[in-house]
């Protein structure tokens, strides 16, 4: 991606046209809290497997698992689940590239699966993820963890663990930056049209939603 982008990791300096909603350290506290919540709700994380939804759900799942294993002596396998082939909007857009599905150590059969994604919006990605998951096996139960919940749901889906609820207008954009994929950590919000010009090629993040058939 935009590998050349260097920017302050933590502080007011943001991408032009966007405002920093949450800094790197605030985001890291959110991840810590979510890790604690998963441990609490699952009775210590026994039998829990995290499945990240590409792109940003995968490093996010890894961070969550890392924190969970730091807080408790428990082993949390992490996998990746590509939902592209199961989307209901494939034909509304140009063909989408596929991401990698990685089956977690120990598989998913009989496990408590926590799906992990960065932004929850329409809920369509999660619906596709449930279909994709079914092909891999039969988990004992499935839960959902998201860093940002924007609202605007189009399906009866809700998250079990939420980093932050950020009520936004559908026309706004939310950018989650992760070191692993974007070279910066944090959450930014942009409101078009004022920012439309700045979300061009040098954009380090990824426009998550706004358009009805976008991701999340």
């Amino acid at each position: 991606m935009a590998g050349a982008v260097t920017r302050p990791n933590d502080g007011p300096g943001t991408t032009p046209g966007r405002s920093l909603a949450f800094s790197a350290s605030e985001m890291s506290r959110m991840v810590d809290r979510m890790a604690h919540q998963i441990l609490e709700k699952t009775g210590g994380g026994l039998g829990v497997t995290l499945m990240g939804i590409p792109t940003r759900g995968v490093p996010l799942a890894q961070r969550l698992a890392e924190r969970m294993m730091a807080f408790e002596t428990v082993d949390i396998p992490v996998g990746a689940l590509d939902t592209t082939l199961y989307r209901d909007d494939l034909r509304r857009r140009a063909v989408r590239p596929l991401a990698e599905t990685v089956e977690p150590a120990g598989g998913i059969e009989g496990r408590l699966i926590v799906l992990v994604d960065d932004v929850l919006c329409s809920g369509r990605t999660v619906r596709a993820a449930l279909d994709a998951l079914r092909e891999l096996g039969r988990p004992r139960a499935v839960q959902l963890a998201v860093l940002v919940d924007r609202g605007h749901r189009e399906l009866p889906i809700r998250a079990d663990y939420v980093g932050k609820n950020i009520p936004t207008a559908p026309s706004q954009k939310v950018y989650v930056g992760l070191m692993e994929t974007d070279n910066w950590d944090g959450i930014e919000i942009a409101a078009p049209p004022a920012s439309a010009a700045s979300t061009g090629a040098d954009n380090p993040g990824h426009p998550l939603s706004a358009a009805p058939e976008a991701t999340a």
Partner: protein, 312 residues
């Protein structure tokens, strides 16, 4: 990708890598599953239009389309209205009226696939036209090389590929030279002068007449089938002489460098261009893998051509 897949040489580097990477993802997505089925082409119709005999290509396309949940209609010239004298155009219009989203065509005349694009709305995939091109074969060959060589890193730059035999009649050779050059490999053709096409010196490939000189410096040795059905005259004195000079036997195989692999697009003439023991060599022969990889590559092509909407 564009709307059709007519020639391997039409693909630029980015598109070729896109197909190969997608094939890899699809292959891994389905490997080890009980139900080998993915949903993205549900409700799409793929027509296999085969004017020439084929086992592996037709079944491979059929399996690929079915694994992506498309509906498949098989149409072969034998036992169809073609034997009553129907032209390619009329057949195409009939298929068009039935609403085919993609037509996979194999024809004995070069250029048949390109012609077909004038008559149908859907995507056209060339599954071999005369002595012209067979792009999915080249893609599956490249896919096989990526998997087998250089620790599966997928980098084919500088790879030395030697293609041996009936280059004149071979659409596989044409497609492979085009695609492998795009991917950065260097191709050497080895054949008797009578089995090289006119103008071969303009191809982006070296030409040699002596197999033994080239073998030790090859990472891949691809043997071509001697296409007797396309031969009307004497291209070589005898099958025995051809086999002695251009056939891959055990002795020649042992002269290859230790990590080199052997490929053949099939169907093989065992004992002619390739010895049975060579074809079945567990360590070097990638021939069975080629067939398996063909399904993944064709799934990728179908997904990339039909998986999206009309965004253009």
């Amino acid at each position: 990708m564009t709307r059709h897949l007519l020639a391997a040489s039409d693909l630029d580097l980015k598109q070729a890598i896109e197909v190969l990477d997608t094939a890899d993802r699809l292959d891994r997505a389905i490997a080890g599953r009980e139900v080998k089925k993915l949903p993205p082409l549900r409700g799409r119709t793929v027509v296999n239009l085969f004017y020439e005999d084929s086992t592996r290509t037709r079944t491979s396309f059929e399996l690929a389309a079915k694994r992506l949940s498309a509906d498949v209609i098989n149409f072969s010239a034998k036992g169809s209205s073609v034997s009553k004298g129907e032209s390619l155009k009329d057949t195409a219009l009939t298929l068009e009226a039935m609403g085919a989203d993609a037509v996979v065509i194999r024809h004995s005349l070069s250029g048949a696939a390109v012609r077909l694009t004038n008559w149908v709305q859907g995507s056209v995939i060339n599954a071999g036209d005369g002595t012209h091109e067979h792009p999915t074969q080249a893609l599956l060959d490249a896919f096989t090389m990526r998997r087998r060589l250089r620790g599966g890193t997928g980098d084919l730059a500088g790879l030395r590929v030697t293609i041996v035999g009936d280059v004149l009649h071979s659409r596989v050779a044409r497609s492979n030279v085009g695609l492998l050059t795009t991917l950065g490999a260097s191709v050497t053709l080895v054949a008797p002068p009578t089995l090289l096409p006119i103008g071969v010196e303009a191809w982006p490939a070296k030409v040699h007449y002596n197999l033994d000189d080239v073998l030790p410096d090859s990472d891949v040795v691809m043997m071509l089938r001697v296409q007797r059905e396309r031969m009307s005259g004497g291209f070589f004195p005898s099958a025995r002489e051809y086999s002695r000079r251009y056939g891959l036997d055990v002795q020649r195989m042992n002269a290859m460098n230790s990590s080199a692999i052997i490929m053949h697009p099939g169907p093989m003439n065992r004992g002619m261009e390739i010895a049975a023991d060579v074809a079945d060599d567990v360590k070097r022969s990638a021939i069975v893998e080629q067939v398996a990889n063909g399904v993944s590559v064709r799934m990728a092509v179908l997904y990339l051509l039909l998986g999206g909407g009309d965004a253009e």
